[in-house]
Amino acid sequence: MKELRPASLHSLGRVCRKTASAILLTCAVASPACADPLLDGGKLVLTNGISTIEGASGGGLAAWSTIAGMETDRAIGISGHVTGIELADYGWQSHGVSIGVHDRVELSYARQNFDTRKAGAALGLGEGYRFNQDIFAVKVRLAGDVVYGSALLPQISLGMHHKRSLDGAIVKAVGARSASGTDFTASATKLILSRSLLVNATARLTNANQFGLLGFGSPLNASRSLQFEGSLGWMLSPRVVVGGEYRTRPSNLAFAREDDAHDLFVAWAVSRNATLTAAYADVGSVATFDGQRGALVSLQFAF
């Protein structure tokens, strides 16, 4: 009961939050030590998403409306990731970096390396031929918050992914119209706390063939079409989410069918700054080789 504190001096305890007098304010403003930290690392764990195979934050396959990095609205955040996927006939490796600004804008870069292994020889490319792609992306949060606010208002973001295949001659030889292209996404993501459920829906305008690794469009199907990405996650603890994703894709190329992709994942925030994701991923038929499914492992560091 003797635990009283004088309410009168309370503002002095937080020089930079509530200034008690003009002189304190002047001093506080003049002192760089009083500025908000550049990297505040204040986001709730996992609400930065993991890194998609295209570099933007989200699930493994689907872009979400999350903003990368552990920053809140008064700081910046950064993250980096590496992802490997072992498919039946191919190997996938991607890595990238992102910057989140004020939990509002996300800039990301990712590099994808797709190893054709033995299939490369069968396709006449040579065994172990690699398709490579650079992806530069930007995402802006328009409204809402993944966790806070009304349960009915999700976090909503718009995104743009500019993709550049580094195999221009080959992707055109297999029938792509262009070696570079741009996807546009609109995403809505919400953690429905009352059910411990994370729900995401994304609409994507794209003409990418196999995410763009086989170029963009074809002479017959040049323009973008509207595709859908959905994710459902169930939170088992503040640090563990299990779930699944589904992503529809166009099938533009004449020589090979392209299927929808899906995955089942478990994401574990090992610490505030590291998230490990393991998934079973299925991307269907790739360049005439059917049944491309296998294990995905992704490691993300975020600050």
Partner: protein, 205 residues
């Protein structure tokens, strides 16, 4: 007043410079708890200046029975709790009834007041009152048989300068307190779902 400024400026700057987070500028808080209850004027570390008198601050006298400091008059209403309570649920049970809720609130307050990220916000606040009103709020929302008699969330937090990062830190502390009390994770989240929409009233910066 000039005398005050002369004393204060170098001290404030020194503290500001040595506390990169600023929120942790604890040396600025002046007299600590035990001294407050005494009748003699509060004094600074050097023991020579009565800051409250220098700033013309009116001294608040704690209630001899409850130990709480007086607050400006306000209208009590269940709506002040900021959400509708659970009904026909086993939420009260999941939180261990009133005894469980009291233990969780006490631990929650302890975590917040010792968390270097946000402890400065709680310094020199009426922690006795906070424990009571938070207990009432949680107990009321969880349908464990209490009335909420505290202020509404907007007026209770309007002068605190709380940021989103502060709120996240507080949520993590609440999760920790609930986890330690072995509240099932799904029930923790159902409770957080009640609190999550209050962010707009609590976060002011």
């Amino acid at each position: 007043m000039m005398k005050v400024l002369k004393h204060l400026t170098p001290l404030a700057c020194a503290v500001a410079l040595t506390n990169p987070g600023c929120a942790g500028a604890q040396d600025m808080t002046g007299p600590q708890e035990a001294e407050v209850a005494k009748a003699d004027p509060a004094t600074d570390a050097a023991g020579s200046i009565d800051w409250e008198k220098e700033f013309g601050v009116e001294k608040k006298v704690p209630d001899p029975v409850t130990g709480e400091l007086p607050v400006a008059p306000y209208e009590t209403s269940p709506a002040n709790a900021g959400a509708k309570p659970f009904q026909h649920s086993n939420m009260a049970q999941a939180f261990g009834g009133q005894a469980g809720i009291r233990a969780i609130v006490n631990r929650f307050v302890e975590l917040n007041t010792t968390d270097p990220r946000i402890d400065a916000i709680f310094r020199n606040q009426d922690i006795v009152r906070l424990r009571r009103t938070l207990f009432e709020q949680f107990c009321y929302l969880l349908d464990a048989g209490c009335a909420y008699t505290g202020r509404d969330m907007k007026s209770a937090h309007k002068d605190l300068g709380v940021t989103r990062a502060d709120l996240n830190a507080l949520v993590e502390n609440l999760q920790k307190a609930m986890r330690e009390a072995e509240v099932p994770f799904a029930a923790q989240n159902r409770f957080l779902a009640k609190l999550a929409p209050m962010d707009k009233d609590v976060v002011t910066r």
